[in-house]
Homo-oligomer: 370 residues x 4
């Protein structure tokens, strides 16, 4: 199904080369002031064609509100938002309709839907559908900030083999929109840019990693056992195309350590219980502990490459080759940064409503002019 | 909530030092022949006290069926199974009731439940609750084999810094129950055993990794977008205590590669479409592609260590220290192997019912004696 | 939440005086041929302004497909459909914004959403949102017919105190679109019309009942206990504004009978097991028995009446009066007939997918031109 | 599936002639004081063998807590409760195993589960499984009273053709446990008793109706559209065997009225907005309006009757006859009263948690002895 969330639920719809990409956000608290700009500023970070490193597909991705907002405030009714697709060129896709691209979902989608799926531009499996996550996430970003002062901050941690340092979240906030790859480490930014440009010239592609932080999250958020903070978040993060692993705290590195090296002991600072170190990423037993939450999302390289690859003709059932010469990002990671933030905001808000930290209606601004 | 699964749903209940650990499996197809031994053989691999490397808590963990099975067959009604807790020693936990153990869920659970949670032995946050997953998984393991010939095979890939080779799944099956750490690589097994023994002697602990394979899974299983195979599975895997990251296919390594190195091209073998290499782990766009599915689950070290650690007294609100001298595993990974298999079987079966690959009732064996 | 269904899920959005009324249908099987006309013909039966008995609001309610359909077939992706609102006149609603109309949801909605709800035309609580049910239902109506030969047939059973005879379903099909009140009993049709006209002249309104049949439904559909056929259906039917009771089979009358009068005994007809009588409505234990399913949905009178009524000013917190002079139907029942059919089709299809009677993809028509 | 509820979820398990009848309540707030007596007193009202009017099956139905309660308080973990079956006599059922009883679920269950269902005593379709609802309802009854002062009060409104007056809820409370049929109208109680006794002597059975009230429920409870208060409640009520219709407010009678007769106008009483009349039953648009909520649940007669009925042999596929001579209630209504209260309490509490009226943890009583 194309929905996620328990207390606040997002339902994504639309295809890469269909009419639009849209989303419905249901269960969203009433009374939050929302303007188009709140959503548009997030969409602008994700949209194609924003720099020399991204696909040349031109989409302005201007959000349109269809329901759920009245006089500038959320109403408690389902909020439908969409962007219309404008720059669709399906010729390449129709030409290679029967030859699935390696690394893309063409083949399993063909099997699952009996061949009826809209294959143009990858259809529902295109990275373009993450525009729906960004629209939904924009609402929850504002909700989290307003009601709990919670902020979600992601940046590019790695491009191919190049790994950034992790600065303070304040520095990430300042730095990441100052460079084309959206890293918080300005020192490696030009090296990352060059690596992407080189891959692009070779007709090749790169992967990488996004690191994400949730700050000011109080202790006690997250449901136990099967809806742990990590579980709920990872489920959602795997809905971003090309994500192949999710690591909480020091992640894989923790598995190499001893318990005496990995445990975070408790201390009191500023009359608050917190941890001295934070290797675990701020979550224990699936529940937030009131310290900085952080995790890393690893992306495989863009599967579209301008090289000859082996594939199979689904119609003639014979081996053949394919060269994917369409428009695509040589590295998706810089544009994935706002998507990871959106998904993270959304699920954090959902879990916060569930645990009673966000009310169902915000009372602050109700006045006679409503 | 303590439930997982859409078409087949497992609800876990019970606490480490409560009366029992149990599970309800609802939506399970009728007509599968199930005996106690089918479940018991899986529980035996997980139970404490099985070797010198595990906790000394003695639990025979004999499964009892309370409902849903009649004349040796599943009926389609909810199947309730449990094991009774026998060897409970809560003295340590009561003594240190107000001093949360670093790395455990004591502190966030205390906050979340207002102090009412059953803290003895970690309560619901104990590794002991994975017995409920194993019971549920045992049913689905048999169901997958019977209806689709699908098998789930996990083994220990890493203990602390020691990494095993990955043999063929057939060799893993043969080897893994032949050594105390349940690795498919017999060469490193004794080194792993020694590493755990050394950590134990030092009052310390180790983490590691479990690698898991799903074989014979046809193409087309897994729902798109928010219920991707990876997403659904990772959500469930994070419900195993101490899991900090999940990697599909080559996982984190993929993020360092170029697209031309990471893509798996399609070929035809034995009149079937398959991939030449399998770096992606057999899933694209959240849907199985009909090749071997594999992934790695990384565990942090057991947080219980016999060393002095800093913590806070929740009652007096002062800093203090704690030494966790209770019974625990110095490394949980060998006992986590059957748990990863159980969780994986369960969600694979759930997704297979959803996609219509497993029927709601098995007709094969219905006869007059029922 | 604004969603219903487990295997096929409908999410309704839009407000009476907002931009549009829309729906997303997710989980719908791929491969069903769907044209606009399939949906439009159902919308036309529901749309306002269709006769002298209905509201004078003019809406052409032309369906627009936004996603999920490609080359005339469903793709398995979420299907978004909507109708744009055109004839909105909110002046009345703004004038009486603080004086809730008796019998409408104005007051509880105001409380629930803290005053932020879009009150114009009743917003989300308007009968207009049933257009979303009709669009979703049109898809499932075709799906049921195509895959199972199942048909859902409703007609007007009662208008105010006037009760129709129940003819054979074949006669209902033939008769109901031949009269303005959509009853299968042509004899009472003019009396019903007159009753509505009289109520309208008096500034008053009428209620009534819709009777609904599901024919050709095989035995075994419906989940036990908490998702019984009756339970799932009644939950959905209560989402139609003004519905106050739902009766299966002879319903309330059964409660007056003796067991020997109410039981339906089993017989064999045409080599099929069936019931001799059908007082129970074709469902036992929440599961279909393979005979004609039927039930009755009772509607209260339209709460909008052109008479002075007592109410309260929510702003000044004083008692006051209101006269609802806007556009509305003096009796909603004739337009509710296609809505009951839509809701019933939708949930019947949902339960049929769940029980495996409808496949996830229809293979019949796949060809190279897709 | 055998679960119901969104924020608090009940999962029922067990069969009539299996080992036990049990329930898991998940998502229940932590910190509520619960003793066995809280549950037992409700079970005692439902248990068989309590009077001359009920089945002679002897079950003491002593509740046992398996999890989720610690030191007398709920912990926030899933609460598993059960009663063991003791007086099972399956001989009759085995004898007529292939001849489905008219009016019971034997036949559709046989079809749905391919013959594997536990047919003894009706298995999962027995009225006995309502013991699980009563256990779950007992918890929520106390929760509603403690946190919101909300009370759920049901009584017998009708037995066969005999209809009781509806006294004030205070009188119902006082009267209903003073007579064997649990009606609030002491005048008709002996007539109802006699009617049941007569039916029983004739080997026949009666139906009837339960009327239920929710008092002190504030305005704003209930979700719009597809999870309306009426919808959610009716879905749950249809899980009680023999329920064939549910009417809110005056129900079916409303459909005969004019709008000017059925609307409830708003007034101010004791500085609170309320309705002058209450024909609608206290719910508008699926949301509570802050007045007394009420509804009626209609039951068909017990299908088990000691008379010869026509049925079919499923094995030989021939017409035959059956006489159901086992133990059963000649009228289930008096024992259904606590069941209706339980179901109503449960869903009312669920919706109240959803809307934020009940917190996730009750803080009042936390002390060092926990």
């Amino acid at each position: 199904m194309n929905s996620i969330g328990s207390s606040i639920r997002m339902t994504s719809f639309g295809e890469s080369h269909g009419k639009c990409i849209g989303v419905i956000v249901d269960g969203f608290p009433s009374g939050l002031k929302i303007g188009k700009q709140d959503v548009q500023k997030e969409l602008d970070k994700r949209r194609p064609g924003q720099s020399s490193l991204t696909t040349s597909r031109q989409e302005t991705d201007q959000v349109e509100f269809l329901s759920g907002i009245f006089k500038g405030y959320t109403t408690g009714a389902p909020i439908c938002m969409l962007v219309w697709n404008q720059d669709r060129d399906s010729r390449e896709y129709i030409k290679r309709r029967w030859t699935p691209r390696p690394g893309h979902a063409d083949y399993p989608a063909h099997i699952k839907y009996g061949g009826y799926n809209d294959f143009r531009g990858g259809g529902r499996f295109s990275g373009r559908i993450t525009a729906s996550y960004v629209m939904a996430g924009a609402l929850t970003k504002k909700l989290l900030k307003k009601t709990m002062n919670v902020e979600v901050i992601a940046h590019t941690k790695q491009i191919g083999p190049i790994v950034a340092e992790t600065p303070e979240t304040e520095d990430i906030l300042r730095n990441k929109e100052q460079n084309l790859v959206r890293t918080g480490d300005l020192r490696v930014a030009p090296i990352m840019v060059e690596a992407i440009e080189n891959a692009s010239k070779e007709g090749d592609s790169l992967g990488g990693a996004v690191e994400c932080f949730i700050r000011n999250l109080p202790a006690g958020i997250g449901e136990p056992v099967f809806n742990s903070f990590e579980g709920v978040l990872s489920n959602a993060l795997f809905s971003i195309p090309a994500v192949k692993s999710v690591e909480f705290g020091l992640g894989k590195k923790l598995s190499m350590m001893k318990g005496s090296e990995s445990n975070d002991s408790y201390i009191i600072r500023d009359e608050k219980i917190t941890v001295k170190t934070n290797r675990g990423g701020g979550i224990l037993g699936g529940i937030s502990i009131g310290s900085l939450v952080f995790f890393t999302v690893n992306f495989k390289p863009t599967p579209s490459i301008n090289k000859i690859q082996n594939t199979v003709d689904l119609n003639s059932f014979e081996e053949t080759t394919i060269r994917v010469s369409g428009r695509h990002d040589p590295c998706i990671v810089p544009r994935a940064v706002p998507v990871v933030e959106a998904i993270t905001s959304f699920l954090t808000a959902d879990l916060s409503v569930q645990s009673g930290h966000i009310p169902r209606t915000l009372k602050e601004s109700m006045s006679n002019d409503l």
